[in-house]
Amino acid sequence: MTAAIVVSGEDNVATALEPIEAGQMVRAGAAQLTAIDAIPRGHKIALRDIAAGAVVVKYGSPIGTASSPIAAGAHVHTHNCASARGRGDLHASRQPPDIIPQ
């Protein structure tokens, strides 16, 4: 069984130490679950269902919000987890600087 690391008890994701195939059983801390996606090495697997808009937690702190519903065992990455910080594309405080296009 492949192992994934859970850093904090509050986390709802674990980090795969080896590549995981869809359908494989994964041991994550004390828990076991089935991967429903392929998880590349170093990427995250959801430990439980995470609703769209809910917080994704690693290191015991929020690392972003689910941009779509995430099922337990799914690959969690940029396609379904969005940063809440530095999003000038969503909340620009002023226009981009006026420079001559290159």
């Binding site: 690391i5 850093v7 980090t15 130490l17 590349p40 090495r41 170093g42 990427h43 995250k44 994704v56 690693k58 290191y59 702190s61 929020p62 690392i63 972003g64 969690v76 990455h77 940029t78 987890c81 969005a82 940063s83 809440a84 910080r85 530095g86 999003r87 000038g88 594309d89 969503l90 909340h91 620009a92 405080s93 002023r94 226009q95 981009p96 600087p97």
Partner: protein, 391 residues
Amino acid sequence: MTPGPAFLGYPRADGKVGVRNHVLVVPTVICASVVAERIAAAIAPVGAALPHLAGCGQIGPDLTVTHETLAAYARHPNVGAVIVVALGCEQVVAQQIADVARQSGRPAHIVSIQGEGGTLRATARGIEIARDLAAAVDRIERAWCPASSLVLSVKCGGSDYTSGLASNPAVGRLADTIVDLGGAVVLGEIAEIMGAEHVLAARASTPAAGAQLLRVVNRVEAEAMALGVDIRGTQPSPGNIRGGLTTIEEKSLGATHKAGERTRLEDVVGYAAPITKRGLTVMDTPGLDVESVTGMVGGGAQLVVFTTGLGTPTGNPIAPVIKVTGNARTAQTMADNIDVDVSGILTAGEPFDAAARRLLSELLEVASGRPTAAERLGHREFAIHRRNPTI
């Protein structure tokens, strides 16, 4: 011999302790950079040049940062003597940088390219002075110095999932130890504190230090957002994302581990400004590795411990940079660049404290003179952070 962990360093006239003993060759302006590099090369490896891209066409805070950074290196404990190479018409004032070096007890000379009459004469005059200074600094002997005299810069670059899970927590235990011994630790890269500022602010020794940290993080976030784009173009970097890091919050939470698990945040300082407090200081540097290391060394860090998951070669002209990886593949594929492999934390159950003890041992050896991978390879990257566009 001092009780407790110690190393063979260079005690300086101003009470600080160096771990290297360079003759520093400082160009005041980009126009003097080539001459400065040729002078330093003539006395390699003791010679260290600071080639840079500014020194003219600058106004306001940008000029101040360039001037202060060059001056900070001229009084750095890893420097035994200084040559300032001027063109002659630039904004950065050679005399002021030489004065800073002299006031800190170091011999300093000025070579002016316009004054000497061209590249060849200035280079020849500089090499003549450099050989005398190299002989002079060679007479300074190492002596046992306590670990409390260390200012350690902690840095990560080319991060992947192993950084936050292995190398950064191991370096964090080392940072805890250095502070326990009475030393100082400096963490830069404000953008990589974004999302983890609550962790550091909760460890602030004064409300003022915590509030200052939050102000600086908010300013950097506002500067990024003012450009109207998604910060994900650079934070996390494309390589970080391939390596499994999804958001800046995740990267930051992993990155701040290297500043210790229990160090108290004592101070927040500007770019290359002096680090005056024992314990943890945060410095306002950008996330670009070389600019960040340049600033923290300018603040007085004699050594840098630099974690990397993907592998990166960055060094510094005057401070040894110790590369630590938690990624077993990188330890092999980039063996040239790696000093300490802590991948056993993930693959063989090595405890963080055991890895931290190995790191302390390596740190003291390097402080006593053993060259790092970056030094052996001639990595001397130097880049001063620019606050404003060139005018």
